[in-house]
């Protein structure tokens, strides 16, 4: 093509308009209608932004609650219980009556190395 053709300059005098904001909104809305992911996918992809100070404050509150509630749980767990019948370990006894012949024999042949 001719590098310095005055036709090029003349052609560039023809400017075209830009798309309007109204059109942008229309197309974005049409996109949302066309490609609408299922609600469960939207839930798993939902993102929230939280300021760092708020996040730190929330973490401190959770930590304080944990430390405050821990002794209450600790009392019930750490209370020594008196030895009684419940504390006796059950004994496992096996007698000859527990050994019964096999009803249906299903031998499995294992190959070497398996």
């Amino acid at each position: 093509m001719n590098e310095h053709d005055p036709l090029d300059n003349l052609l560039r005098e023809w400017n075209s308009p830009e798309p309007t904001d109204e059109l942008d909104r229309r197309i974005t809305s049409a996109y949302r209608t066309t490609v609408r992911p299922p609600i469960w996918r939207r839930f798993w992809r939902t993102r929230i932004s939280i300021p760092a100070p708020a996040l730190v404050s929330a973490a401190l509150v959770v930590l304080a609650l944990f430390l405050w509630l821990r002794p209450h749980f600790g009392v019930s767990v750490a209370t020594p219980s008196a030895p009684g019948p419940a504390a006796v370990q059950p004994e496992t006894r096996v007698t000859l009556a527990d050994f019964q012949p096999v009803q249906q024999l299903e031998p499995h042949i294992m190959k070497e190395g398996k």
Binding site: M1, N2, D5, P6, L7, D8, N9, L10, L11, R12, E13, W14, N15, S16, P17, E18, P19, D21, L23, D24, R26, I27, T28, A30, Y31, R32, T34, V35, R36, P37, R41, R42
Partner: protein, 193 residues
């Protein structure tokens, strides 16, 4: 227009953006849209010279991208792909047997440039001269001059070989030279004054 942080998404390939947009990622769609909205709209507007048509083509073009055939980065840029869709939509709307004709000479005679010089804007005359070109020549000159695409890119969009594109461009320029000769002469006179 919603603000999109394109610096974050610059590292994402266009294929990934299209895939994400198809999966409902609105941010990915907006990145694609912001990158190509002006070019697609202006191409559609220059080809149709109708705001309504350009808006409809643009909407269909971007929706076709998210619900149409898969975009493959290896077969060209997303811009070329979008222009291909826009072109097909435009051709569907503009197709008439007369306009498909390659020869523009008869159409050129209908513009009386000298007669309109005093009343019309120069840009309007240019627009009308381009409008008078047959669609295949018009799209070649619009893509080459206004979208600054290479011959290879144009050939990919219009699905023709480079020789055909060159030929269309040459004939379009010859026709425009003939039609706009008074304006070109006026321009050169201005510069010499």
């Amino acid at each position: 227009m919603q603000y999109v942080d394109t610096t974050v998404t610059e590292l994402t390939t266009e294929s990934e953006l299209v895939r994400n947009a198809r999966n409902g990622d609105e941010m990915a769609f907006l990145v694609i849209y912001q990158r190509h909205r002006s070019a697609v709209y202006q191409f559609a507007w220059r080809m149709s010279r109708s705001t309504t048509t350009a808006e409809d083509v643009m909407q269909e073009c971007f929706l076709a991208l998210v619900r149409g055939a898969a975009f493959d980065n290896g077969r060209g840029t997303l811009r070329s792909y979008l222009f291909g869709i826009a072109r097909n939509l435009l051709r569907r709307g503009l197709r008439t047997s007369e306009r498909e004709a390659e020869e523009p000479e008869e159409a050129m005679a209908s513009i009386d440039v000298l007669g309109e010089l005093l009343t019309a804007e120069r840009s309007d005359l240019v627009a009308r001269a381009v409008e008078q070109l047959p669609p295949l020549q018009r799209e070649a000159i619009v893509l080459f001059t206004y979208e600054e695409m290479s011959l290879e890119q144009i050939a990919g969009i219009v699905q023709a070989d480079i020789g055909a594109v060159k030929s269309r461009l040459r004939r379009a320029r010859e026709a425009l030279h003939a039609t706009l000769a008074p304006l070109l002469a006026q321009g050169s006179n201005r510069r010499t004054l």
